[in-house]
């Protein structure tokens, strides 16, 4: 809070309360209207809901880090030393979600194989009995 006076700081705290509350309400509103809880028969597509909720959460995170944790008021080198390492997570998210999706596909294939094998199994055992 190096560049803010006491009065400005107080104002920022109250502004923060308002912003975070409103953004949270907006997120919940999107979740409720998107899942058809508010208007009968009206739903939002996932590709509209999810990015909107993710962006609003990112904004909340930015506001907390920059204003409440004062990172926006620290020197640039400190800011970068904290923020740059987190960019590694971008790749982690892409890689692991892709991996999770592949596990799902693999499970599908295995289930299919299992079902096909159980269908083929009875004639084979019958053959064995006749021998």
């Amino acid at each position: 809070m190096a560049h803010l006076t006491y009065e400005e700081g107080k104002k920022l705290a109250m502004k923060g309360l308002g912003i975070l509350a409103v953004v949270t309400l907006a997120e919940v509103f999107i979740a409720l209207i998107g899942n058809g809880h508010l208007i009968e028969g009206f739903r939002l597509a996932r590709w509209v809901m999810y990015p909107a909720m993710i962006l609003l959460s990112m904004y909340k995170a930015y506001f907390i880090i920059y204003n409440f944790m004062h990172l926006g008021f620290e020197v640039k080198s400190l800011r970068l030393s904290v923020l740059l390492p987190t960019t590694l997570l971008i790749w982690a998210i892409i890689a692991f979600l892709q991996e999770g999706y592949t596990w799902g596909e693999r499970r599908h294939d295995l289930n299919k194989e299992k079902i096909e094998m159980s269908r083929q199994a009875p004639p084979q055992s019958e053959g064995a009995v006749h021998e």
């Binding site: 809070m1 006491y6 700081g9 107080k10 920022l12 705290a13 109250m14 923060g16 309360l17 975070l20 509350a21 949270t24 309400l25 997120e27 919940v28 999107i30 979740a31 409720l32 899942n35 809880h37 999810y50 909720m53 993710i54 959460s57 909340k60 995170a61 907390i64 880090i65 409440f68 944790m69 620290e74 020197v75 080198s77 400190l78 030393s81 904290v82 390492p85 987190t86 997570l89 982690a92 998210i93 692991f96 979600l97 991996e99 999770g100 999706y101 592949t102 596990w103 799902g104 499970r107 599908h108």
Partner: protein, 339 residues
């Protein structure tokens, strides 16, 4: 000689400290790096959640799972968790106020706002305790069992008569200490328990062994209301009723459009484990945060930080930690309750 002492001088300047390129104290800087590492820990957990969820065909929707609140409120999707989020946001703001009063060297202000923050933290923890209790004791979600799932086909729930007509055999539930339970019902006239005792019967396919995998129940909610005849579509959410009197998960029978009789399957196992582990880890952070705040508040009351004359830097450091807990909740709230 002159050059030697000049060299010693510059070396001293470099290594003796005094210059702080980040213009932040050691303690504050290390708090930042601790929080960075903690952020990676939480990110690891949340990414694991994402990977496991992506690998599942079915995942229960949060607005169905988290739709109860204290005082018997039901069908109020996400309302209670929104309240919890507000509490945490408010406690973050009171923390900002404590730090600001510290910079003014206002002891009473610091102590007041720290206690407001502690109050917020305790309210959050209490709410989480209720949420967990409801999920575990009431709805039957455990680390290994998840009764929340979604239908993969369209169908209609079957009544007992329909099951008998389809060739199923009725089996009474062998209740442990059933007589005592009956007495309790008679004595207290507990309607709830009476309804549960009345539905204490299940159906087995003819000739099938009496194992949980073969038991078909008639759909009833936890109030004991029978829901046989209710139709559903693919993608609809359901909760396998956990019967408190019999300690059984009532996997209910339904008929699909092509006439085959199936029963409700349990949801993805990892759901409960991930939920309890990640929200528990966050709750543990809140709990330790409350302890830290309490220590700092007592220190501030004792006048320890007045003597240090550094603008209550300790309050600022614990403030960073407390805001981080709120920051993590932003993402826990996003992935568990919104997406």
């Amino acid at each position: 000689m002159a050059t030697d002492s000049a060299m010693a001088n510059t070396q001293e300047n470099l290594w003796e400290g005094g210059k702080s390129p980040f213009k932040a104290s050691y303690g504050k800087l290390m708090m930042w790096y601790f929080l960075l590492s903690d952020a990676f820990t939480f990110a690891g957990f949340l990414i694991a959640y994402g990977a496991l969820r992506f690998s599942s065909d079915i995942w229960p929707t949060p607005d169905f799972v988290f739709s109860t609140a204290p005082f018997g409120i039901e069908h109020a999707p996400l309302i209670f968790v929104t309240f919890m989020t507000f509490v945490l946001i408010a406690s973050s703001v009171t923390m900002v106020r404590a730090v600001q009063e510290g910079q003014q060297e206002n002891k009473n202000g610091v102590v007041f706002w720290l206690f407001m923050t502690i109050l917020g933290g305790l309210t959050f923890l209490g709410s989480q305790a209720w949420e967990w209790t409801n999920l575990i004791a009431h709805e039957g979600v455990t680390v290994t069992t998840n009764p929340f799932s979604r239908h993969t086909d369209a169908g209609v729930y079957l009544s007992g008569e329909e099951l008998l007509a389809a060739g199923f055999v009725e089996v009474p539930v062998a209740m442990h200490g059933a007589e005592h339970h009956g007495e309790a019902v008679a004595e207290h006239g507990d309607e709830h328990a009476a309804a549960e005792a009345a539905s204490a019967v299940y159906y087995l396919p003819k000739g099938a062994a009496d194992i949980p995998e073969n038991r078909y129940f008639v759909k009833a909610n936890h109030h004991g209301e029978v829901l046989a005849g209710e139709a559903f579509e693919p993608g609809d959410n359901y909760l396998i009723t956990y019967n408190h009197a019999t300690h059984l998960y009532e996997t209910s029978a339904y008929k699909t459009a092509d006439g085959s009789i199936k029963k409700e399957a349990f949801g993805p196992k990892t759901f409960g484990a991930l939920f309890f582990f990640i929200t528990g880890f966050h709750g543990f952070h809140v709990f330790s945060g409350v302890l830290f705040l309490l220590i700092i508040a007592i220190n501030a009351m004792s006048g320890l930080y007045v003597e240090r004359r550094n603008g209550y830097e300790m309050v600022e450091k614990v403030g960073l930690y407390w805001h981080f807990v709120d920051l993590v909740w932003v993402f826990v709230f996003l992935v568990f309750y919104l997406l």
